[in-house]
Amino acid sequence: MAVTNTAALAANGQIKSRKLVNITVDGHEYQVGADQTLLEGLREAGIKVPTLCNWQGLHPAGACRVCVVELEGARTLVASCTQPIVDGMVVRTQTPRVRLARKINLELQLANHPEDCFYCQRNNNCELQTLAAEYGVERRYRGKRKQALNDVTSYALMRDPEKCILCQRCVTTCADVQAVACITPLKRGFDTTIGVAFGEGIGDSECVNCGQCTKVCPTGALVERDDLAKVYTALADPTKYVVAQIAPAVRVSLAQEFGMSPGADFTGKLVAGLKLVGFTKVFDTNYAADLTIMEEAAELVGRVKNNGPFPLVTSCCPAWIKFAEQYYPDHLENLSSCKSPQMMMGAVLHSEYAKKTEATRDGTFVVSMMPCTAKKWEMNKVSEGDVDVVLTTRELVRMLKREQINLAELEPVSFDPVFGASTWAPAIFGVSGGVAEAAIRTAYQMVTGEELPVPDFTPVRGLEGVKTTVVDVNGVQLRSAVISGLQNVRDFFAQGGWEDYHFIEVMACPGGCINGGGQPYSEHWPLRRLMESLYGIDKNMSWRRSHENPEIVDLYEQYLGAPNSEKAHHLLHRSYVDRSMDYLPQ
């Protein structure tokens, strides 16, 4: 009898008290977990079943009918994604009847799908295209085709309703994972379309631009807004001093795109690659993250002294900020007034950095490489010229491949220093809990003058949606919470008791920026490995606290004075607006 790995783990007691069932698939017996769908059971047994609508962790929609299998005793083929698994099931997944049904279902999808793969962002990276090839589709059906205009209302995302196959992954993600539900199926039958309540498109809706929907879309119907052309124009312009900044999460998310093992640290290779593309300087957004930590920790210390208002809530994540401005307008005073790291970096590069180099304020052109689509919105709506273009990890990969640059082959190069000597900054900001950990380390030092005795801050590490910890700072029990995933955020604030915390870190994407909406496509994105990689980078640093970063010390000594000084406020802080009425009909 074939025994799967999971079953073996269960037998060894490594997975506790998991109920198992026996199923027969294509003539072989398997033991897999009970309490799951047939599709999940088949996949656990290592059997490949195609699907265009199912997605790990999302409620199954049963919409695409591509995962059909033959189930003994059933009159018709069954969609394995919505069929609960039962002990003794006899299933066939590769019979001519199954293959033909899948092929027909794909052909019917394609009969109402544009055949313009050449011009599609998802060309060669599209689930529908891949399955069509696998099943040898033919053009046997012709009929009416959906006709609709592209939705270009958003700064972050683009939607092509003609490419939409109505799988509902985006709808479920938006509603269940991110608790926004700004997109939903409208109308019925052939006219069904995914859309927003009021206005022309997603840019007119409560969409927080997190981009989680683009990561689950099986086709090119929902994608990031492609801003590569702006970068090429700037690179070709001799009056522009084009520089790049790289977010922490990006550097550990590239390896598998260039055929290397996921999670490998590509920091130095990426710097080298961007120099080849033509960027004059390449900076580390971690520098600005450290700056954020200095400002935020000083804010926290100030609030501890003044006894509030608590909690202080982080402001690094623009999707969370828009969410807060829309749904918690009465608590905007709880948000840290710090700009996000990418904006702080842009502000420093356009001002103090430009002053000391050959670049001019207007000539400096800052391109942010971010794991995030919401940063595009932030750049356009909030940053007031701090940043010029935001590229997601996916666009970055496209750019490098277009330039025929294979990062895997490049020798690593160090970041350019913003001030003083080049340093490698910690990278933990890319994962949920990283900002809280760094802020608490620095706030502790600011208050006590000593370093926090526990070097690895384990309570806020990990991929859980909500993590909490208490640190004794000179007799004050500093309570912090770390939350990621906006549904978790909504639940946390609805539960009550949030007022008892002093510091709360919020990241909109589950797990933090490593799971950002601009990250490469993959249903089995190796979150844990990326997280371990970021903490690994942190461990190898010669210094590990934001307030010890010599470049940061330099910046304060030479230009800004102290954290939260007037100059620092002018350059590095921002304000918030109540957006609770912005998307309501007049």
Partner: protein
């Protein structure tokens, strides 16, 4: 426990969504956007989710109905007698599709299955008046008579 109760009551509230939409449409004649937003808030749903329900059912209207309703019959007899041509004419004359209202708020156009006036095919009903054997040429005169009525 508190959370549990909240979930139950939210689900209960949502089960009354369609009834609430009926109520508003009865009162206003259609579902104004502000009411959709208000219902969403009340039900703990997003406005888009309420809109999804409102656009799913033919019964709900998102725009105010015109002053006069035109029902063009497309039953078998009327169809044979050229109701398509009549409908095309009306659509061109008023610049609307079935289910829509004219910009001046005067007419709403519907296509119905059978009015039971087969002997007068092709037939249409404007408000409560039945118009039989309507030739496309008569159409303009008939519509104008309603425009004058205000």
């Amino acid at each position: 426990m508190g959370v549990q109760t909240e979930v139950v009551s939210a689900t209960e509230k949502r089960s009354t969504l369609i009834a609430r939409l009926h109520e508003v449409q009865e009162r206003e004649g259609y579902l104004p956007a502000v009411e959709i937003a208000a219902i969403a808030k009340e039900m703990g749903m997003s406005a888009a989710q309420v809109m999804g329900v409102a656009t799913f059912y033919n019964h709900f209207r998102l725009r105010p109905p015109g002053k006069h309703s035109i029902k063009v019959c497309d039953g078998t007899a009327c169809h044979v007698k050229g109701s398509n041509k009549l409908l095309d004419r009306i659509e061109a004359e008023l610049n609307i599709q079935p289910g829509e209202s004219t910009e001046d708020g005067m007419f709403t156009l519907h296509v119905v299955a059978c009015l039971g006036a087969c002997s007068m095919a092709p037939a249409m009903v404007i408000d409560d008046d039945v118009h039989g054997r309507v030739s496309p040429r008569q159409l303009k005169r008939i519509l104008n008579s309603y425009r004058r009525r205000q």
